[in-house]
Symmetry: C2
């Protein structure tokens, strides 16, 4: 069901578009077309999440958007820390700044003294050593790791010790975390190599 959750976020974006175009209902096959997947998949996902439509009108767009929100959005603001204010870290800070009130990056950390204490895209960059104070104080539950691979496990361990429950990791390293902590690793290099491979070999 992890896959389904991932697609909910996509569905919502598409539904907001559809709503903007003035449609009040969508059929599974319409949503499927814009999502680039099959209609049965869409119906199955919505069923899994406990939504339902009408065989004649399809799914009510505004309703569905609301339901997805209550299903996947945090009920109150959920706070995120980013560790490693390098090129990628800054791009992420810029992108999320002010965009999601319910899911906000509220602190950044780096061990490079040239970056510490600067405000980057609306987010203060703290020294690494301040983590153990700031993370609990702000009740941060999610971490984004954008440090070099060698440091990634160390940072993950610290975050876990500070009771963080989810990590989005961009370092090309397989993180070991205790059960109860959810990790998703986005390995851009591997993704590019895979695309290059299939661009050459097909399929």
């Amino acid at each position: 069901m992890e896959k389904t959750i991932g697609r909910m976020s996509l569905y919502r974006r598409l539904l907001l578009d559809i709503e903007k175009r003035g449609a009040s209902h969508v059929y599974s096959h319409e949503l499927a077309r814009v999502a680039g997947i099959g209609a049965a998949q869409v119906r199955r996902d919505l069923m899994t999440m406990g939504f339902s439509g009408s065989p004649s009108k399809g799914y009510h767009v505004a309703d569905l958007i609301g339901h997805i929100g209550t299903a996947i959005d945090p009920p109150e603001q959920q706070r995120v820390a980013l560790v490693g204010v390098g090129n990628l870290g800054r791009a992420i800070l810029a992108y999320f700044h002010g965009r999601r009130p319910k899911l906000a990056i509220v602190a950044a950390f780096d061990d490079d003294s040239a970056k510490v204490d600067k405000v980057v895209h609306g987010c203060r960059c703290h020294p690494l050593r301040a983590m153990s104070e700031i993370v609990p104080a702000l009740d941060i539950t999610v971490g984004i790791i954008t440090v070099p691979a060698e440091s990634a496990q160390d940072i993950a361990d610290r975050l876990v010790n500070l009771d963080i429950k989810g990590i989005l990791n961009f370092a090309p390293a397989a993180l070991r975390v205790p059960p109860g902590v959810f990790v998703d690793t986005m390995d851009i290099t591997t993704a590019l190599e895979k695309v290059a491979y299939f661009a050459r070999k097909g399929r």
Copy 2:
């Protein structure tokens, strides 16, 4: 088998580390441990790719690195174009600059005249209109899309028309491409929402 190809890139990085530490052989369970997966998975992957080890010594590290290279690396340089020199695009250009001689980002494109004709991390940023000339001239086969979602399908269409065979897409949009073109979409927002969701709900 797409998943296996993805892991090969990871295995190689880990093997290079292991080699650096002076070990000449690895057992499947050792590689599995550092990769964060099961030993059977590792053996299955290596088998799928046609590699084999010895029951007594395990897999020969240097050999394996070489074999993975011939299996997944381009035999000669494969060239990549990046479209959308924004925050994320620049981070990617910085990261790959000079890192992979065999897989090089050799051209960038943007429609913002303030960016055009500047050299960003060793890569010249061309006006969008130059794409139809430069992509064939440099024999570029892979595209990276880092433009806003509204423009992503348009850029994908152009790239496909210029005979590109693989796209790594960072825009939160499902791209429609003809068969024979491989697309991988890395949706950072969705990934973060998923992590946040499981951080709250567990599993």
